[in-house]
Symmetry: C2
Subunit: 215 residues, 2 copies
């Protein structure tokens, strides 16, 4: 069955691979599954045809036969359940991998996304810098905890898993920031993930969409 | 095997059942599993003994034999996989239930938690009201979309599932707000969930902790 995902027609990240279709592309590349992509504009995301796939009006979505999913975490989890390679077979290790997916999305990601909100939605506000400092402090707490957990390990919990896809992609929004560079083991963790051939194929695929849109 | 969870010794919500142990208690009550509770203070959450259970220093945690989990979403999902009653058996329906868990945690919850941050961390700032209005608008978008999806249905996707536990508990932070009352079907959805005997047992159990702490 053909797998079809949706992605931004013109990503606001200008091809940096920060949009959430990147997670799904990366997971599909890790498990060696081909996929098709349907591009949607910001306007189309809130129109009935797309809302029928995702009532919350976001990308990515995932269609495979009579199954339609949305939410990048759920899609990556589905891919990891459906194809071997992204979840441990040991039951406890598997539960911990799923746990780290939830931790990335529910605890680590919200303050990082909030920093982006400060940048675009609060631009020009007299209090933007004050808010940014408060958000950065919340991010710093999470990076400190995560860095202490990771230590010298390659991945979050044993072998590379779906959780590393979500966590690395979440942290990538901080790439190049002084905030992240205070944690060399997290910088190295991201670099290790980005060196994976599956990551590179996924990155190139989303990059090509941006380049086509920009010409 | 004994299941042990952690919860706040003295919850900042003053017994309103908004802390995330409520989700785990509720799930365990739905599947009829007894559990023990170890109470932790805010200070203890960031000490080595608790960080060994959860490096991100939060409650709840879940211990069962040699498995230790954290993140309420992951724990509820584990309970739903381990015991019958909280996930559909049909594969596609199960994937959609998991999807709604991720949607609740990753898309619906962040702006709702942000509203709490406005209330406590930005108290006294000259820009608090302006920020609150911006956050409320983000919440309103999600409530509108969720309300349109739910329509006249009882639950998010067919039968009651683990996803409804997470979504209802997320929405409960808005209980009593004008924001939520603009969506009568969401108010009714919450009330329907709160009427469940399992919910009521879980609520009473967490309430008892607060009452003991307050006397």
């Amino acid at each position: 069955m053909t797998i079809t995902i949706t992605a931004f027609e013109s990503s606001p990240d200008r091809g940096r691979g920060l949009a959430r279709d990147m997670r799904v592309r990366w997971a599909l590349e890790e498990v060696g599954q081909p996929y098709e992509v349907r591009l949607v504009s910001f306007a189309a995301m809130k129109q009935p045809a797309h809302l029928a796939l995702n009532p919350l009006g976001q990308i990515p979505t995932y269609e495979e036969g009579d199954l339609t999913l949305f939410e990048s975490g759920a899609i990556v989890f589905h891919i990891a359940e459906r194809f071997p390679g992204l979840l441990p077979t040991d039951a406890n290790a598997r539960a911990r991998a799923v746990m780290w997916m939830f931790a990335a999305l529910s605890t680590v990601e919200p303050p990082i996304v909030d920093a982006d909100i400060v940048s675009y939605a609060e631009r020009g506000k007299s209090w933007q810098d004050e808010r940014r400092a408060m958000v950065n402090e919340r991010i710093r707490v999470r990076l400190s905890e995560l860095s202490a957990h990771l230590g010298d390990a390659d991945w979050l919990d044993g072998a590379f898993s779906a959780a590393d896809i979500i966590m690395v992609h979440t942290l990538r929004r901080l790439e190049g920031s002084a905030l992240l560079e205070d944690y060399p083991n997290l910088v190295a963790y991201i670099a290790r993930a980005e060196a994976r051939p599956a990551y590179q194929r996924a990155f190139a695929a989303q990059r090509a969409v941006w380049e086509a849109a920009a010409t």
